[in-house]
Amino acid sequence: MIVTINKNLCCGHAICLDVAPDIFTLAEDGKAELIRQPLAADEDETREAAQECPARAIIIQEAG
């Protein structure tokens, strides 16, 4: 799994920080930022963060 954040779409709902705190943080501009790429154990909550993002700013590319 590879995750990216579309900064143009992100508008700072900050739900991803709550769902996957090891993966997402907020940058100074109030927009989400990646801490690191998810490991296998983080994939469920990373997917959940993407689903819950009202701005659909978290893009996940599944392997394969």
């Binding site: 508008c11 709902h13 739900i15 920080l17 709550d18 907020l26 109030g30 997917r47 959940e48 819950e52």
Partner: protein, 394 residues
């Protein structure tokens, strides 16, 4: 072939349900029935960027033809469900056809409440569908005067959009403050000030008794006898779950489709989104995140009913937001029913409010304005039941 999964409602909840199902390997044929002749679309921009023209119809789409094909969804659009035969496991369509189902997901959302004084004349519109939004957008021409009846989310967001566009706008509400039921009196009062500062007038504590005008709206009369002139009247007095088509089906319809915590309403029937009323709640809630969460809950219960070993999704705190002018106002947890409101910093008007709400010494809710980072911290504090005296952990 087994009867398909049928989703009634080409909605956010409907799309998110099938997305979650497919993510977990659900391989049954799926039919989605949508009343409007449209692809499923997202609604939050309809009261904001869509009215100004910044957001086009295409960018509202939740799942286009390619995505629907990828999801294995057969979309039947422009077709209204008019009845449900539970015993025969069929949905009756207005066109006369019957759609059999193996499992049914009801995701028909809600419909704007029709005001007793409302008449279908030019200039009067609700705001729920993209068709409503196009009508309103076309009405919002220079020189017009907008009357917004109802100071809830749709009413105040539209007023903010219109105000920013320079359209003379008046918001009317039965309550003294806009959005009091969502954000409480403190923030509601500040929001009223914010609108008035931007030239949008707010009149609280009034009821509309009459719509003025013949073929074209000319204004409204209020219960205190005064009249307000305006040639656009947005009726934003709330919405009700769209359950008319389910009357007589045998489903329990109190203030929506009654279902258990997993969203199940009957052995093979689930409800997701605005239309669903879950056991612990008294009525349906209609926020974007509620629809997303209920869709995921329903999808997982459908998977479990099919024998999959999958846990229910994590329970998240209630969350909603509103964008008005350059302010993003966010709320997490329970803001209503608190016994303490602690302003940690800032004000609504200066666009930097951080407020925590407590009940019996524990933090239960928070509202922030343009402070997403603080909101994230407060969300954590609410989850852990932090004391209201120290709402933000060091």
């Amino acid at each position: 072939m087994n009867a398909p999964l049928v989703i009634v409602g080409a909605s956010l909840a409907g799309v998110r349900t099938i997305e979650e199902l497919r993510a977990h390997g659900f391989d049954q044929h799926t039919v989605m029935i949508g009343e409007e002749p449209k692809l499923p679309y997202d609604r939050p921009p309809l009261s904001k960027g869509f009215l100004t023209g910044e957001v086009g119809e295409d960018s509202l789409i939740l799942a286009g033809d390619d995505r629907l094909a990828e999801l294995g969804v057969e979309l039947v659009s422009g077709e209204r469900a008019k009845g449900l035969d539970l015993a025969a496991q069929r949905v009756r369509l207005e066109g006369g056809e019957e759609q059999p189902f193996g499992q049914l997901v009801i995701a028909t959302g809600s419909a704007p409440r029709v005001a007793p004084w409302q008449r279908p004349i030019s200039g009067v519109t609700p705001l729920r569908t993209v068709t409503d939004a196009i009508r309103l957008r076309d009405l919002m021409a220079p020189g017009r005067h907008l009357i917004v009846v109802g100071g809830g989310f749709i009413g105040t967001e539209t007023a903010a959009t219109a105000g920013a566009m320079g359209l003379p706008t008046t918001v009317l509400d039965a309550d003294a403050f806009p959005l009091r039921r969502a954000f409480g009196a403190e923030v509601g009062d500040a929001l009223r000030g914010l609108h008035e500062h931007r030239g949008v007038s707010f009149r609280g504590g009034v009821l509309v008794t009459e719509l003025l005008g013949g073929e074209q709206a000319e204004g409204v009369r209020l219960n205190d006898g005064t009249t307000i002139e305006g040639d656009i009247v947005l009726v934003a007095t709330g919405s009700d779950p769209a359950i008319g088509w389910l009357v007589g089906s045998g489903l329990d319809l109190a203030q929506g489709v009654s279902c258990d915590e997993s969203g199940r309403a009957a052995a093979t029937v689930w409800a997701a989104g605005d239309v669903a009323v879950h056991a612990p709640r008294r009525r349906a809630t209609a926020h974007w995140t509620d629809a997303v969460e209920s869709a995921r809950t329903v999808a997982r219960d459908i998977l479990r009913a099919g024998g999959a070993d999958i846990p229910a999704p994590r329970v998240t705190l209630p969350y909603f937001w509103t964008d008005q002018y350059e302010y993003k106002i966010q709320s997490v947890g329970t803001v209503i029913g608190h016994d303490e409101c602690r302003i940690i910093s800032g004000t609504v008007a200066s666009g930097d409010l951080v407020a925590a709400y407590g009940l019996k010494g524990r933090m239960v809710g928070a509202v922030t304005v343009n402070r997403p980072r603080e909101l994230a911290l407060l969300r954590r504090s609410i989850t852990t039941g932090a004391p209201i005296a120290a709402p933000i952990p060091a």
